[in-house]
Symmetry: C2
Subunit: 195 residues, 2 copies
């Protein structure tokens, strides 16, 4: 008796897999090497289709030596935007997003007030630099805050795919929308299990 | 021949109609009188069903003399939350909301930077007060920024109703979602046209 054929599946990839130094070492020492390392494994797994939103792919290209990227990347890692004008999302998510934003706006205001109060204790330039950093962190951490994040979630939803990302905001929304997700640290083991 | 019977319609009301002094004078001098004035007209129009989201109704109750509110308000102005777990919204709205937020976060940051730079020129307490005001304006103006706003839009969508609001954020989203809307200034004329 032949072994049961594995059902094919789809996977949506974030850039962190290739860009984040803590994660990409599974596949290579530089983003360009990590892509090559991924392609070597992915090319041996006909059961899996790999996708990346066009916007995320464009981000990834900023990190690589483009002339060293093999042509088969374009075949194996399919670039596709979600059907954003056809997809819908449950309306209660609007409430959660808006509640999230309100909390963050309040946090941002407290950061700004602290900065105003610390003028005089340190140099104005330093106060502003540190405020910018704290402000961004307060407003953006753990929230879906970019079109690219929405692309990831919606594409994974549209394709009923496994989303591979380390972005906490994207993971939170994957959970809300019933999208499967995997930590990038586990992705190499996941791939090897098919080979 | 009898005149053609008017098709019945539904109307969703925001508080501004009764609370905003520039608008409510069409119906009465105080919020409580404005409600009475509205009921006198609304009670003569069997073709229209009036609704208000529960959350908005609770807000309205903060502005009125509760003991003077007639019981028929509860019959004529129906309180109802939208079916937020059944309704969906087009996914491209998520992109617009997130883009909107990013712009506002950047604006908020500029407000905060300006405040830090102005310390020393005026009193710290004044700097913070004026920053709070500018910050709120920068982040909230013209955006859907509360659960109550979402309630208004979704209830109007669910009921295929006419939304009567002066809130610019709600109007902007009504436009995006194909929800009919009317400026509160025109609402009395609208009602009188039925009588």
């Amino acid at each position: 008796m032949e072994p049961a054929k594995l059902r094919s599946d789809r996977v949506v990839l974030d850039t962190s897999l290739f860009v984040n130094p803590d994660i990409r070492h599974d596949f290579g020492n530089t983003p360009t090497e990590a892509i090559e390392g991924f392609l070597v494994l992915a090319g041996q797994i006909p059961e899996l289709e790999f996708y990346m939103p066009t916007s995320i792919f464009a981000e990834l290209m900023n990190f690589v030596e483009k002339e060293k990227i093999p042509g088969r990347l374009l075949r194996i890692l399919r670039q596709k935007s979600p059907r954003k004008h056809e997809l819908t999302c449950p309306a209660f998510l609007l409430y959660e997003l808006i509640e999230d934003i309100r909390e963050r706006v309040n946090k941002g205001m407290r950061v700004a007030e602290k900065a105003v109060r610390s003028v005089g204790k340190s140099e104005e330039k330093e106060v502003i630099q540190s405020m910018r950093k704290n402000f961004r962190e307060a407003l953006r951490e753990g929230i879906i805050d970019s079109k690219e994040d929405v692309d990831l979630i919606l594409l994974a939803k549209e394709l009923d795919a496994l989303l591979v990302t380390a972005d906490q905001g994207a993971i939170k929304w994957a959970e809300k929308m019933g999208v499967r997700w995997l930590m990038p640290e586990k992705f190499k083991d996941y791939l090897l299990s098919f080979i």
